[in-house]
Subunit: 226 residues, 2 copies
């Protein structure tokens, strides 16, 4: 008997976490519909990365949704406020940084939920990762679990499951998992403040954590740095 | 001692419910920031209504956010599927109608949450109303309460309150409340399938429920009908 693969919606930013998350969802046998957002981010180069990643990792579809979070402001990622650079681990781990985009994951998950309703999918994947970087309230496991409870009540999807396969992994663990699943990290873009050509700055929190992950495994990050 | 009024975000569609909701929030002393959405709805005439309502009811600001829910489809309100007409009360009260827009209130509330973060507001108002029309899962009180729990975890706003002042009112009760607070219902637009000039059809579920509300109070609906 032939069975069709179960559809899943996978949030895909173009960074290393969501790329690994997509690879895991594929390895688990899901037919993956990738969803990205053009939300006024200064690092919109990540959307080209998302397109390449979706294609090489075998997503069934990839949709980029336009939403204007710049209209709200409140984050260095969507305004001219400077992205913090060269912070040490203690600084990165304390408080909510100015790169936090208000309600971003709530908004992204809500569009994923709309897509799930239309595609009759009961599975959403999001590459949140609370271990190395707990500064964002919308990456915490208790947020995800509350979101799932809300989503089941607010839609037809009363069996909806939000998968967070990276939740308990370090950055090094994510790199290792991605390498094992054939993710080409050279295609992924993580930097909050890339150059016009898409080269990573190497100094923002996202770059520092990414580089640390590769370093801990004795690997070289194949992505371009300025 | 002078105190500044507390800011609140009020979701405003331009219909009779959200207009009354805004009037209630104002009467409770909030400085109201109204938020509407251009989401590909066939009844976009409601956005002009929202602008007039926000202005006459003294909103501090009114923002219309562009999001494309047509890209997802799945609803007669955002596609060429016919809006159901002349259904009786039993039909209106049973099941999820094709006018349900997947995850719409979840998406709207998520943008309201982003606005609340940026404006330092702990109060959101939404004119959901589950009594006359329980067909939409994202209008149920248990959905709103789960949303509030999720929103507190996913943002800096751990005291966030979602106000639903219409939850326990019939349509007639909403009309009565609105009239008492000076809402000009002639400005509001409720119809799912209005004419090009903005006249209501008088036959969709939204029109039938609205007209019933006015009729029960012995009032005439001042909005234009085709």
């Amino acid at each position: 008997m032939l069975t069709r693969p179960r559809p899943a919606i996978v949030l895909l930013s173009g960074g290393m976490d969501s790329a690994t998350c997509l690879a895991i969802a594929r390895a688990e046998g899901f037919a993956c519909h990738a969803l990205s957002f053009r939300y006024g981010q200064r690092h919109a180069v990540e959307l080209d990365a998302a397109t390449r990643v979706a294609s090489t990792l075998g997503a069934v579809s990839h949709r980029v949704v336009d939403i204007d979070l710049r209209a709200f402001g409140g984050s260095s990622l969507t305004s001219s406020v400077a992205v913090p650079k060269d912070r040490d681990d203690a600084a990165i781990g304390s408080g909510i940084p100015n790169t936090y985009v208000p309600a971003r994951n709530t908004i992204f998950l809500s569009f994923a939920l709309a897509a799930a309703e239309v595609l009759d999918a009961d599975d959403l994947f999001i590459g949140v990762n609370a271990l190395d970087y707990s500064g964002y309230p919308d990456c915490r496991p208790e947020f995800i679990s509350a979101y799932q409870a809300m989503a089941r009540l607010g839609t037809r999807r009363d069996a909806l499951t939000i998968h967070t396969p990276l939740a308990a992994l370090t950055k090094a663990g994510i790199v290792a998992r991605g390498v094992a699943l054939g993710v080409d990290f050279g295609l992924t873009r993580t930097c909050y403040d890339p150059s016009a050509t898409g080269a990573a700055c190497g100094h923002c929190d996202a770059c520092l954590l990414r580089l640390k992950g590769f370093r801990e495994l004795g690997l070289e990050d194949p992505a371009p740095y300025a």
